[in-house]
């Protein structure tokens, strides 16, 4: 293959992105049906970032997410039954029904939490990177956050400290051009986020977040740099969420949410990361219509199983309200 990426990895990218897409489409439908009540922030349209980044990591590497982290959980290899069950707030969920969609965890695959306070996981990932240097382990940490988080003071505190101490951390900003309802140009004095790295004496790159291969290769390079002890990298991935800030609604102008121009959304749908990779794989002969059909069928089956598992699972027992506050 071109790009020096194996066919296996390219197919894994395709399958992972499709799984995230299909999983979240099902979540959106179940929200509309009233079966899911926890607030769900969907990443449909942004799948390439979580997918490309997590494929550049080892299982032992740590990732931290945010309020919009179904994709990070799936891309790092988390069990989607436990994810769906958590979104249903059931006892069998990854956070045992205490977290809901916004609080996901899967320590077994290195996802140590997705705190939904904007920017909160950025210093925490720096801390887990510090931990690697103190322990002498080779693990790299990643924090995923949105463009909105770059307005938080803690973002700058974290960049400074990570670069100062040359910590093995990669900052991945998923810039979808909207900080909840506010377009970035209305909240940032300079909308070039990658450039902010300069002030902290660390590399910052702006890439196409809808090109999974570009994400993968950029993160690979940043991870290598981090593992070699050369410090952090800020990667700004330009992308767009097809749905609104929260829930299945697309927030286009003219609807009650009235935020984004329809033409803007349509133009980004043209830049769909999944279609882009699919076209490339078909052209390269890495994917046939038959294999594509098999992959879609497999994903359909897995998501259906996850939904059924969540539906059938029990809610937490009342006494569980008082459990898990402290380690005893």
């Amino acid at each position: 293959m071109t790009n020096n990426i194996s066919k296996d990895i390219l197919l894994k990218m395709y399958e992972t992105m499709l799984l995230i897409r299909r999983f979240e489409e099902r979540v959106g439908d179940l929200v509309l049906k009233g079966e899911i009540k926890t607030p769900c922030h969907l990443c449909i349209g942004e799948e390439a970032i979580a997918t490309g980044a997590c494929l550049a990591l080892e299982k032992e590497d740590y990732i931290f997410g945010n309020h919009r982290s179904h994709g990070h959980y799936i891309a790092k290899g988390g069990d989607i039954k436990k994810l769906m069950a958590e979104i249903f707030c059931k006892e069998t969920g990854c956070s045992r029904g205490k977290g809901g969609s916004m609080h996901l965890i899967a320590p077994e695959i290195g996802l140590l939490g997705t705190p939904p306070i904007v920017g909160a996981s950025i210093p925490i990932a720096v801390g887990s990177a510090l931990s690697s240097t103190i322990k002498g382990s080779n693990q790299v940490s990643v924090s995923f956050f949105g463009d909105g988080a770059t307005s938080e003071g803690v973002f700058y505190e974290s960049l400074n400290f990570a670069s100062l101490k040359k910590l093995p951390v990669v900052f991945i900003c998923e810039n979808n051009f909207y900080s909840t309802h506010m377009p970035v140009f209305k909240i940032l004095a300079d909308t070039n986020i990658a450039k902010k790295a300069e002030g902290f004496n660390m590399p910052g790159v702006q890439i196409n977040g809808n090109n999974v291969i570009e994400v993968f290769q950029t993160v690979q390079k940043a991870v290598e740099r981090a593992r070699e002890g050369n410090g952090p990298t800020l990667i700004e991935c330009l992308t767009y969420r097809w749905r609104g800030h929260v829930g299945p609604d697309d927030n286009i102008q003219g609807t009650h949410t009235d935020i984004r121009p329809k033409e803007e959304l349509d133009s980004w749908k043209e830049k769909c990361s999944i279609k882009r990779l699919e076209k490339y794989l078909l052209e390269q002969g890495a994917l046939s219509e038959t294999v594509k059909g098999q992959i879609i069928e497999k994903i359909e089956k897995e998501t259906q199983e996850a939904v059924e598992f969540a539906q059938k699972s029990p809610y937490p027992k009342e006494e569980e309200l008082f459990e898990d506050v402290f380690k005893t």
């Binding site: 705190p115 925490i124 801390g127 510090l130 322990k135 803690v154 898990d324």
Partner: protein, 323 residues
């Protein structure tokens, strides 16, 4: 037994914990500077190096997140705030994140983080370098709060806090740093959530916190001369609260005075008063008295400071009011 100061006791506990367990490290603004943290970290940088004694930029929220991240990945950080007042800047990481982490993620990971805040009052430092925030932290589920009043407890509670495996806010007081007492050389523990009877008595119970324990003990000595026998309880832990030791004492004395280093309104003293009143209201022989800071910010002028900070005389007055 040899005697050491309160500050030396904190220093010794930290040193022994770091020697014994490579997972323990300290991080915080000024943690290599005696100007900031008294003698509590003297010699640690020289002994353990910059990897485990990390003096930081002035980024309270960021550094608290860093300490939490290290705790979530198997280390046992002691995060130091040289003035408690600066902790307001880190409320997101301490409260939203550290305190909630275990619960909101279904008990899957622990956050073994000790957050050491120093009360640093007096000397005309005024509103932003004088505060005691224990009651605010005690309000939050997921945090434990301890406040040693003696060199012995300063060492034993720090060891317990680091071994606890949960976020523990450990609050020491600069006004106590020079207090000297017998402290065992070896590692030992003072249990979190257990108060101690500092002096036995039968006429009134004085529950005291941190620096007010010393004031209460002196007040009790003076009261003894006047024929009033006061029982002094050193609370040691604010959360969990040792209700039993308080209730047992008040059942016997029927009178209660609470001496706190924090503000009046909404503080731990009110919480204690509520617990005692709701369980023993039929047995009480007088109103419960609270000796605490008035509801104003800390002033600068020495004259105003003297009025602002309660002392043993305020405790004596409170005892006599209802005796």
């Amino acid at each position: 037994m040899r005697k050491i100061t309160y500050a030396q006791a904190i220093n010794e506990a930290t040193k022994q914990l770091m020697e014994r367990d490579h997972q323990v490290f300290i991080i915080g603004q000024g943690c290599t500077s005696p100007w900031y943290v008294g003698n509590t970290t003297n010699g640690l940088f020289e002994k353990f190096g910059e990897k485990r004694v990390i003096d930081t930029p002035i980024s309270e929220n960021g550094m608290s997140g860093v300490a939490l991240g290290a705790a979530l990945t198997g280390l046992k950080p002691i995060l130091i705030f040289p003035r408690m007042d600066f902790m307001y800047l880190a409320f997101d990481q301490i409260i939203n994140q550290a305190a909630n982490w275990r619960y909101m993620f279904g008990g899957k990971v622990n956050a073994p983080l000790v957050i050491r805040g120093i009360i640093n009052r007096g000397g005309e430092q005024a509103a932003q370098h004088s505060q005691a925030l224990h009651s605010m932290f005690a309000h939050v589920p997921g945090l434990k709060v301890v406040m040693p009043a003696t060199p012995y407890d300063a060492k034993g509670l720090l060891i317990s806090a680091v071994e606890d495996g949960n976020p523990v806010v450990y609050i020491d007081d600069n006004w106590l740093y020079k207090e000297e007492a017998e402290v065992p050389e070896e590692i030992y523990r003072v249990p979190i959530g257990k108060g101690a009877i500092k002096k036995k008595g039968k006429d009134v119970t004085i529950v005291a916190i941190s620096y007010m324990v010393k004031q209460a003990a002196e007040a009790a000595e003076d009261l003894e001369k006047e024929g009033i026998s006061a029982e002094v309880i050193d609370l040691r832990s604010i959360k969990p609260l040792d209700e039993e030791i308080i209730l047992e004492s008040v059942k016997k004395t029927k009178r209660l005075v609470i001496a706190d280093v924090g503000w009046q309104t909404g503080g731990i003293a009110s919480e204690i008063a509520n617990k005692v009143y709701s369980k023993l209201y039929k047995e009480l022989k007088s109103e419960i008295e609270i000796v605490a800071l008035p509801d104003v910010p800390a002033p600068a002028s020495q004259v105003l400071e003297e009025k602002f900070y309660p002392n043993k005389n305020n405790i004596i007055e409170a005892v006599k009011k209802n005796n």
